[in-house]
């Protein structure tokens, strides 16, 4: 058995075709996760125990349970909720089996990102000096405005590197979606392996694509972050 470089390049092509979909899924999951996570972080910083305790339990569950188990739980429950809802909305009967697996994927990965981003943003909010808030309020700015205009932007800048690393993490965790019939970069390699009967080339090609993409994204992110820091630094000076 020999290693065919030509076949590996074919596999790289097949995997590249799945890259846009993977990046799209990761971007939407991360963006929604940041928005929902920010909401949870703000609530958890407050002292309302009726809200903070259930949220802490939910976040702990989402962080403590393997993503594949969560994916299977959503896959075996969400369509049964959505099917009656869709039937009522469209007027024609919809079976749970007809529900697109994208609903399952987005639900799972948005929840995944919400849990992790809420912790990131909570840490970032706590890292901003309290004196800033007090100074703003003493200048006559309303507490809400002080929070939204002064504390939040600074916290986002602190959390930025963590968002980037979670983007890469989400891309990696998306490799599990083949279990619910969605094609991402890993599933594309798996399909190529099954069709060509050559697993070695397919998985080696997948490793190369993941590695290359991770390096490219890391460089792009660090450039963008440098740019943002320079711009906000110039504004505040």
């Amino acid at each position: 058995m020999t290693f065919s470089t030509e076949l590996m390049w074919q596999a790289v092509g097949a995997i590249m075709a799945a890259v846009p979909n993977t990046l799209l899924m990761a971007t939407i999951s991360l963006a929604a996760g940041i928005i929902l996570g920010a909401g949870i972080a703000v609530i958890r910083i407050g002292n309302n125990r009726l809200l903070t305790i259930p949220l802490a339990v939910i976040v702990s569950f989402l962080r403590g349970v393997p993503t594949i188990v969560q994916l299977f739980i959503v896959y075996n429950s969400l369509p049964f909720f959505l099917a009656p809802l869709f039937s009522a909305v469209t007027g024609s009967p919809v079976k749970p089996f007809d529900i697109s697996p994208y609903w399952v994927v987005y639900t799972t990965y948005i929840l995944y990102n919400t849990a992790y981003q809420s912790e990131t943003i909570r840490g970032a909010l706590l890292s901003v000096d309290r004196g800033q808030y007090e100074a703003a309020v003493s200048l006559g700015i309303s507490p809400f405005r002080a929070f939204v205009r002064i504390i939040f932007p600074q916290a986002l800048l602190v959390a930025l590197p963590a968002f980037f690393s979670y983007y890469l993490k989400t891309i990696k965790v998306l490799s599990l979606v083949f279990t619910v019939k969605i094609v991402d970069m890993f599933a594309a390699a798996d399909i190529f392996a099954a069709l060509s009967g050559r697993r070695t080339e397919a998985y080696a090609a997948d490793a190369v694509v993941y590695w290359g993409m991770c390096i490219l994204l890391t460089v792009a992110f660090s450039q963008w972050e440098k740019h943002l820091r320079r711009r906000t630094g110039a504004q505040s000076a």
Binding site: M1, P66, T67, I68
Partner: protein, 235 residues
């Protein structure tokens, strides 16, 4: 509008005794993997701290490689591609137990990750401590064992526990190559019930993994608090 979802509480509770049967095996996999990764990770950290010429660069490339890759791909590379490579080298892998691939893939992924926790912890110990130990004429082994490690370990602890939690969560993928751990057993239970009651079984599995992680987090907080107390006693 009626939800089509059913959740049978009795069936859910009945899963726990069945799943408990594979917990010793799951814990065995986790403990052995953790020990392998900890020793290999320490070795890699030592290689990188000592800047061993070619090896240190190799470890850095290795780290960048595994960091960019999902664990499942490494599992498949180990399970499907390693035997091909070994056969070229003249090693016959027929009849090797599945656990070998489990340990190799986990060690391949998590050893460099753990070195990334240990290395900063080593550097976090004040330089003066190294120099003072040297002045007292302690051997290199004693310097590390008696002076550096006791101070670096508490710093490394949260990072190590986080890696351990990630590792436990990744062992849930082993069922894909046919290992009968918690997820593997869940699949067997579902198959023996003709595919019914999936939700109950997976929720039971989730509860067990959650319990693992919560116990570990409690343990970490306990150790951290004890460590803080002992530091304040000394200081």
């Amino acid at each position: 509008m009626v939800s089509l979802l059913t959740f049978n509480m009795a069936y859910f509770l009945a899963q726990f005794p069945k799943l408990m049967a594979v917990i010793p095996y799951t814990l065995y996999i986790i403990c052995v993997s953790a020990l392998i990764c900890l020793s290999l990770g320490t070795l890699i950290a030592a290689v990188r701290i000592a800047r061993v010429p070619v090896l240190a660069h190799f470890c850095e490339v290795w780290l960048s490689f595994i960091r960019s890759m999902p664990f499942i791909l490494e599992l498949y590379l180990t399970y499907f591609c390693l035997p091909v490579v070994l056969r070229l080298a003249g090693v016959n892998t027929t009849g090797w137990p599945l656990t070998v691939y489990v340990f190799v893939s986990i060690a391949f992924h998590y050893s460099p990750m753990i070195s990334e926790v240990i290395r900063p912890a080593y550097y976090a110990v004040d330089r003066g401590q190294h120099e003072a130990a040297m002045v007292f004429g302690l051997s290199a082994y004693k310097r590390i064992r008696r002076i550096i490690a006791p101070q670096a370990l508490p710093i490394a602890l949260p990072g190590l526990v986080n890696q351990l939690i990630d590792m436990i969560k990744d062992t849930s993928l082993m069922f894909l190559i046919g290992v009968i751990d918690l997820m593997g057993k869940a699949g067997l239970i579902i198959n023996s019930n003709y595919g019914r009651g999936k939700l109950e079984v997976y929720v039971a599995v989730a509860v067990l993994y959650w319990a693992f992680v919560i116990v570990l987090e409690f343990l970490m907080h306990y150790l951290e608090r004890r460590n803080l107390r002992s530091l304040s006693r000394e200081g």
